[in-house]
Symmetry: C2
Subunit: 380 residues, 2 copies
């Protein structure tokens, strides 16, 4: 018997009901049928995003949505600040540079989160900055920054804040309206429990003012002004991946039924249990400010993380993620997003114990599971 | 009982096997499993495209792929010619304009195809033109241009030719290598028998020279150079809609098994039968050079095309398309792409007869079906 168990930080496990929904015969997308789906999805997206802002659906990965947001929010003559603490943060700076935007790219050591004061200092030093972009949960390093504190700073300074919330929304507490996040982006294949192919952007009224007035270069395909115009009619400017949107309505309903605070609690408990378990069996949490949506472990000397990942897959069908760029071979990552609950986290810990034990790593079998049990008993 | 019958010119009917394939548990996309799928899909795409050129897979609609192709093939200082005979042709000119490219937008009367000599004249008059873009099968008017003749002209002149083959590849004869089509684009939701969400671009060695050397503005998300680099490893630069790609391998296998010449024959017979049937019951074919992938009919005076479409859907679950822009209410369109065969075309004709008869339109019941039967008996 061979099971597939997706613990990667996206794509994540998709509920059977969602897969079945997408296998049903479908209609054309310029129909009342589709507009009803779109309306339903958008309303539920607002709940999952915890926002009253408009939420747009893009057919494309999170990168496509971020490209549209970066170009929309940064008109000619304005200056942008990007905070880059990992692979994804770097990408947003790259986009800005490629389009010739005036951008300050602030690097942050991988595995650490930016100090909000750093953002405040940049804004104080350079009043020409009109927009800040950061990655809330940096998937490549499993690190969470203090979005709420940064949002307070950018709001007070009257600056736009774009947050890549690709591995936070739907897993971790995010409150764009209360926290001053003008643009929040996520993707379908993370906590929204869908296959990849869609991304989503929420836009505040303040950001719309800038985007609407922006006479500079927009992306053609991900032009937020055009997407908004269509969205007002529960439609899209170009052919949407409507079968995914159909699945989305089912996946979002599951999140809405559970209640977002309960979702955050479930994911938070899984992450805390996994961290406690890892530490109980001799692994170290890589990040100095770990995200709850994905955990990155550094293995002790003598343990080959790539061999561990290979064994997890071969023996248990568990798919995890390795490190990216200079972290390749140094860390491995286990996700807590998607259709996973405490027993799934428990299963991953059990598998990890078995693999590390057979690899000759020295620890007490069951110690990780016991640590996890204590966390779950307390938190859930 | 209510069946859904998709005769829209995209999205098209998807085979049950493809829907079921996409509902199966899936793996992560940065795996051997996915790279094998990607390799399999790419090889089969080359067969369906009838090309030895590299074929890239983009997560996004055909518009995204065309944006990437237009920017890639038109470096700063070059001039582009777009041939615009309908809604889609216009879009390509719009993209070029939005990015500030130097573009000559040549309008063609809707429902007619460009005279290849017109392209030759433009190239002779303005040697600065380095790239021509056109729509092979203009879906909005159901019109086919003579791509082969135009490719001969552009090749002889040493110019790049980008063809939107979104509703031709996989349905109609297209031979990019023999015809001198440097870049050919199609989408998943047409003849490739998938739901929307993917698009595909074939690129000739000659076009790669230009794209590689182009230091101007590329799209970030649909940067063909980056896509090529990843494709060499059977991968994609950003998270792909890999569940759709999995379905694609099954859909393409069906086309490959049928054989492309047989596919073209099947689609051609359905189109000819539908045109003959329509004329036998008093409808007129709108286009002066009809495409075989979709048929546009003009209704006789007194027949409301929108009411006809509404009835087709209400009574028979048949989804058709109306006219776009100034053709709204003047024409209606029935597609021949996707998972449809001669009996499906026959069913659509039967339904059309029933609806027109009840609407009081005067013709001999069964005349359309008889005309279609003759075509099928001859051609299949």
């Amino acid at each position: 018997m061979k099971k597939i168990r997706l613990y990667t930080p996206g794509p994540c496990q998709v509920p059977e009901d969602v897969l079945i929904e997408m296998a049903r015969p479908f209609e054309h997308h310029r129909t009342e049928w589709f507009r009803d789906l779109m309306k339903d999805a958008t309303t539920k997206l607002q709940t999952v995003f915890q926002t009253r802002n408009e939420v747009l659906t893009i057919t494309g990965s999170g990168t496509a949505a971020c490209e549209g947001a970066i170009l929309g929010c940064n008109p000619p003559g304005s200056k942008m600040l990007t905070i880059e603490g990992g692979k994804f943060g770097q990408r947003w700076g790259e986009i800005a540079e490629q389009y010739g935007l005036d951008v300050i790219r602030h690097p942050v050591e991988w595995g650490t989160a930016v100090d909000p004061q750093v953002v405040a200092d940049h804004l104080a030093k350079d009043p020409a900055i009109t927009c800040v972009m950061l990655t809330h949960s940096e998937t490549s390093t499993a690190t969470l920054c203090d979005l709420q504190a940064i949002g307070k700073i950018t709001s007070a300074a009257g600056k736009l804040l774009i947050a890549d919330c690709i591995t936070s929304i739907g897993a971790l507490e995010v409150r764009p309206d209360d926290w001053g996040v003008d643009v929040a982006v996520t993707g379908s294949q993370k906590s929204l429990m869908l296959p990849p192919g869609l991304s989503f952007v929420s836009v505040s009224p303040r950001a719309w003012e800038t985007i609407e007035a922006n006479k500079g270069q927009h992306s053609y395909y991900v032009n937020l002004n055009k997407a908004r115009k269509s969205a007002a009619k529960n439609d899209t400017p170009y052919t949407p991946a409507h079968v995914l949107i159909r699945g989305l309505t089912v996946a979002l309903q599951m999140l809405v039924d559970e209640g977002m605070e309960n979702v955050w609690k479930r994911v938070g408990a899984m992450a805390a249990a996994t961290r406690a378990a890892g530490e109980a069996i001799g692994l170290s949490v890589f990040s100095q400010r770990p995200s709850d949506s994905v955990t990155a472990f550094t293995a002790p000397d003598g343990v080959d993380t790539e061999a561990v990942r290979k064994e997890l897959k071969a023996r248990f069908g568990i798919q995890s993620a390795g490190g990216q760029d200079h972290l390749k071979g140094r860390i491995f990552r286990i996700g807590h997003m998607g259709y996973l609950d405490s027993l799934d986290a428990t299963a991953a810990i059990a598998a990890l114990e078995q693999v590390l034990h057979r690899a000759g790593h020295n620890f007490e079998l069951g110690a990780g599971l016991a640590a996890a049990q204590k966390v779950f008993a307390e938190r859930l």
